[in-house]
């Protein structure tokens, strides 16, 4: 971020202006895409909780041993825990962090935050969404009625304004322009045009907010197919810096319509933490992150049958 405040729309715009907005080739490997992340970057991840998380990119960033990242994501899940234990993040910005109701409050999160090692800057879910929306719109803030009166107002430095039209008190949430957006989508063409099925989460705003946009896609489709369904496109190619083919790129998280999250895997992961704390996450990193050299090798750790089972469960749900 080079010292600019996260809401500095002038600086964020200047960075975009210097970037070529090409409709040319964007196809990349996951590894090369991740090389565009630098130590110290503010990184926003798309999807939400264990849905459409850009896990292949997250794992590659950890493999490349990035440091001092600020991770921003509305509801953080295992990707946040892995980043904490790997020592990749110096701060997280979120509305909620754990895995999900059945697995209780994240022990890893508690350990890192309660010790002061990783500050957790909390916003309401909507407020953080509006921060991305403000940035996507190219303005320094958006007005809202959320968070007013709560102690969340003091955490991230939200301001209030007496509305010049109505005289009422409004909260102004500052824009958040990340350095990098990490997104996982259903389909993209080689020029970076991206299409998403099911719930869109905040990915479109995050892509517009960031200076650099890295995408993995379940499928790379011909441009002609994009042009046959232009009303399905959520992110235009000129916004995208790199797009990599990564089937099961959210796994073990879910991708709408394609595979369900692997709750058994979450269960084993949490059971290991319950047994041996963050050391279990270290072992997990060795096995699932540092061990496999590529995304394909990672998937081999699970095997075709396991992936097919998860795909079948998704088909049942959206059928």
């Amino acid at each position: 971020m080079a010292g600019a405040a996260p809401w500095d729309f002038r600086e964020a715009r200047r960075r975009l202006e210097t970037k070529p907005k090409s409709s040319g080739e964007k196809l990349s490997s996951v590894e090369d895409a991740a090389l565009r992340v630098r130590d110290g970057d503010t990184v926003a991840a798309g999807g939400c909780l264990f849905s459409r998380t850009p896990m292949a990119l997250v794992r590659e960033i950890l493999r490349q041993r990035r440091r001092r990242l600020t991770l921003v994501r509305n509801l953080m899940c295992t990707e946040g825990e892995l980043m904490m234990v790997a020592g990749a993040v110096e701060k997280v910005v979120t509305a909620w962090m754990s895995i999900g109701l059945p697995w209780g409050v994240s022990k890893i999160m508690r350990e890192h935050v309660e010790s002061g090692r990783v500050p957790l800057e909390e916003w309401s879910h909507l407020a953080l969404g509006l921060r991305f929306h403000a940035a996507a719109m190219g303005v320094p803030f958006l007005p809202t009625l959320t968070m007013l009166g709560s102690d969340l107002m003091g955490v991230g430095g939200t301001q209030t304004l007496r509305c010049p039209y109505t005289g009422e008190t409004l909260a102004l949430v500052p824009a958040l322009f990340p350095d990098v957006a990490l997104l996982h989508v259903h389909r993209a063409d080689r020029f970076g045009n991206c299409q998403i099925d099911g719930y869109p989460h905040m990915d479109a705003d995050i892509a517009r907010a960031a200076s650099t946009v890295l995408v993995t896609a379940e499928e790379i489709i011909p441009e002609a197919e994009v042009r046959r369904h232009p009303d399905r496109t959520a992110i235009p190619g000129f916004m995208v810096d790199a797009v990599a083919h990564a089937p099961f790129g959210s796994f073990p998280h879910e991708c709408y319509g394609l595979y369900e999250a692997d709750f058994d895997h979450f269960g084993e992961y949490v059971a290991a933490i319950d047994a041996s704390g963050s050391r279990a996450v270290g072992d997990y990193l060795d096995r699932f992150v540092y061990g496999p050299a590529t995304h394909a090798e990672y998937l081999e750790r699970f095997g075709r049958e396991r992936l097919a089972r998860q795909a079948g469960r998704a088909r049942e749900l959206v059928g």
Partner: protein, 257 residues
């Protein structure tokens, strides 16, 4: 002594479901609130529209395959619309969502909720909780809010360490003074009874006791003095059809146990 006919979670779900009205939109959290809303749809509110913060409108929750989170396919099954998350919360800010229906947390006598941090220093808390998620937004923006929670002394504290989600703040008109022009926590449904807030001070007030529960039991499980309604009613116990419908929705007893 006979075994109770229902678990605390079942009691909460039944009592919660009775609060919902037909022809309304309900912004429901996963777990017991979602179960209670589905029960209401099956029983007395067929035109109730479920809204789930992951960006899901009017799903048909499949019995036995209940969602674990607000952001997953089980919560989205056969929905009529899948808007973005920000758009979904903005429906509440605009006034489209009648009822926020959320689960337990640390709650104080003015209905303020803490799901963020216990301890004096936010940045180095004694216990860090998961955070607001959408709770602050739901409580700030829905027309009315119903909180469902187990009634335990550690949850019902005089003043929360951190106001994640604003009830009536310091009471009186302090919520409105802070700029929260709309909405309110209208009802707290617990495993002991039904509560609301007195119109002036906005302090927690007992309106009705569940079967077999005494005022003393409420006092024992509450860390501050609870006001009493002029007439404290008794709730009807969960009916057979309520319990059987409910159990059919969660046959695995994922949230009812």
């Amino acid at each position: 002594m006979t075994a109770p006919r229902y678990t605390p979670a079942e009691l909460l779900a039944v009592m919660g479901s009775r609060q919902l009205r037909d022809d309304t939109t309900v912004f429901a959290g996963v777990g017991v609130p979602l179960l209670a809303a589905v029960l209401a749809q099956h029983r007395h509110a067929p035109r109730l529209t479920l809204v789930i913060e992951g960006g899901i409108i009017a799903p048909r929750i499949e019995p036995g395959r209940l969602p674990i989170s607000t952001n997953e396919m089980r919560a989205a099954r056969h929905a009529t619309m899948l808007p973005g998350i920000t758009d979904t919360f903005l429906l509440a800010q605009r006034g489209f969502l009648d009822c926020g229906f959320i689960g337990g947390a640390q709650i104080d006598r003015h209905g303020n909720l803490n799901t963020s941090a216990i301890g004096r220093d936010y940045w180095k808390p004694t216990v860090r909780l998961p955070g607001s998620g959408g709770a602050n937004d739901i409580v700030s923006l829905c027309k009315e809010v119903i909180v469902l929670t187990l009634h335990e002394r550690r949850r019902f504290v005089e003043t929360v360490d951190f106001v994640t989600s604003p009830g009536y703040l310091a009471g009186g008109d302090s919520r409105q003074q802070a700029g929260l022009l709309f909405g309110r926590v209208s009802r707290v449904v617990t495993t002991l009874g039904l509560f609301s807030f007195d119109p002036d001070d906005k302090r927690l007030r007992l309106d009705a006791l569940h079967p077999g529960v005494t005022r003393d039991a409420v006092a024992a499980e509450t860390g501050f003095e609870v006001l009493m309604a002029e007439r404290v009613e008794a709730t009807e116990p969960p009916a057979e059809d309520e319990l059987s419908l409910l159990r059919a929705i969660d046959p695995e007893r994922r949230f009812l146990a």
